[in-house]
């Protein structure tokens, strides 16, 4: 799989180094029926870095995010053209099983969505269906520890997950995603339904996770994007309501020295 061939059409690839991209997108168009949601998205996501997707509502950033673990497959009539490569493998090859992709590319959603089961079962279920054969108690503990939730719930693992606060539920959802040993974690506005304190804890957690995982986060919060991410992708929407990638690069560069007028206007709060 040659990376070079795609470089020509890349808007900008920040810190292009010896590091191999874990995800490469090449001229990705996504359609819902006749409606084109995004057009010509090309970018590279580097391993063990945080990439933020920002942009105004309806610009397709969540759509692009969900295309990475093929969650868009669940929407009837959704269709993708172009290439999404994961470690060089085409995720949309017809021989690829989306179920197996989702086991390696996990996801955390906007609204905390724990299962109406116990805290323990929330973690164990995903691991079990993935055929985990090891010590389940240990896995539950390490997953909860990684998600900075263990100390708060270690005495009530058998209690229902819905009793937890919103912030705790969201950390449980992160722990649940970690328990299936993903390589990438997609986060779709993971803190937008939480209060500032809970948001702060989630942000700390995301920074912690960066050492082991590749994280892609969609956010409406400019501060969050600048605090957390190494790379930023700024999406815009054209007159046909089709989203496209306006600018992509180092977060510092995108925020402090945007190459694009639209990016500057959006980041400084002129629209959005």
């Amino acid at each position: 799989m040659s990376v070079k061939a795609y470089e020509v059409n890349m808007p900008f690839v920040g810190a292009k180094s010896a590091e191999n991209p874990i995800i490469e997108m090449k001229d990705v168009d996504i359609y819902y029926g006749d409606f084109q949601a995004v057009k010509k998205i090309s970018m590279e996501i580097l391993e063990r870095h945080i990439t933020a997707f920002i942009g105004p509502s309806g610009c397709g950033k969540s759509t692009v995010l969900r295309s990475i673990n093929r969650m868009n497959d669940l929407i009837p009539n959704a269709r993708l053209e172009g290439y999404v490569l994961f470690n060089g493998y085409d995720l949309y090859d017809e021989r690829v099983d989306p179920v197996l992709i989702r086991r390696r590319i996990g996801m955390v959603f906007q609204k905390p969505n724990p299962f109406p089961k116990s805290i323990y079962e929330n973690i164990a279920w995903g691991a079990r269906i993935n055929g985990y054969k090891g010590d389940m108690d240990e896995l539950v503990q390490t997953s909860l520890q990684s998600a900075a939730l263990w100390d708060e719930v270690k005495d009530k693992l058998k209690k229902g997950a819905l009793q937890l606060s919103g912030g705790q539920q969201q950390r449980l959802c992160i722990a649940r995603a970690l328990a299936v040993f993903p390589e990438i974690i997609l986060m779709d506005e993971p803190a937008s339904a939480l209060d500032p304190i809970a948001t702060g804890r989630i942000e700390e957690l995301i920074l912690d996770l960066k050492t082991k995982y590749t994280i892609i986060i969609v956010t409406h919060n400019m501060g969050q994007a600048s605090r957390l991410s190494d790379y930023t992708a700024f999406f815009m929407v054209d007159e046909n309501r089709t989203g496209y990638l306006e600018e992509f690069g180092d977060t510092e560069q995108v925020f402090l020295n945007p190459r694009n007028k639209k990016t500057e206007e959006y980041i400084s709060g002129k629209f959005g």
Binding site: R102, G106, R176, V180
Partner: protein
Amino acid sequence: MGCMPMTSSFVFLMRYSKRMMDPHKNSFRRKVRPHERFIEIMLFFCALLSIIITVGIVVILVKESWLFFKNPQVTLKEFFTSKKWQPMIGDFGFLPLLNATFTTSIIAMSLGVPIGLFVAIYLSEYASEKTRAVLKPILEILAGIPSIVFGYFALTFMTPLLRGIFNAERVEIYNTASAGLVIGILVLPLIATMAEDAIGAVPKELRLAAYALGSTKLETVFQIVIPAAISGISATFLLAFSRAIGETMVVALAAGAGPNFTYNPFRSAETITGYIVRISGGDVSYNSIDYNSIFALGLVLFIITFALNFISRRISERFRQEYE
């Protein structure tokens, strides 16, 4: 005391009367709207009427049952423990009727519950819009068939079928199996549509969470969605059970006329509802013990179905709270 507001409103009127009399000026004077009040009262009476009717039915049931139980021939102990029901000759044990009622209902549920649940799962999780558009109206048609038709269906189709399969010598012409199976078909649309609602009420986010962990459709549906809907589904089952217990036409036509305590579903046995139909349709004189007995049985039936509906409601209320 009472004249104070009048005085003040009088002064008020005097001061502002000119403006208030003119309807085109911005006036905040309370308007009289007799039709609004009239409609409100009418609606209230309609609501009241349904309560009065319910209370009336219960009162009559209790009153007439009282006449039955007060009869020196009848003892509560016999009523609830004896396996003989022949009021004509002084046997007042209602167990044969209750037994037949539960036999037909349980047979009905063992057919209706699995099929109804699978239909619900299929409709809400698997069927495409096109298939749904065909299946749902068919279910509604099934739900709209009068129960007398189901009764004939039991007698003229199900019974011969059972006699064909299990040997005509073992299967009586009137039998509880045939009636029960047909009641199962009858409650199937109820189970399917209500269980589908319960499954459909499970938030989409839970399904997405399951898929995002790499679960297959089967794992998502049976390990996440169905357990999340379980209280709504069990409420559905209880309601369907109560419907099966109260079903009358099918058992009156197909289950047999004559109380008979048997666990054999191929034999004829009269249910509570079947007995009530036979007695109220026959030429039994008022105030006879037969006549009073149907009220006692009606009361028992009412208590059973009321309890089932009540539990079903409580369960589904709890279910609703879980997702709010």
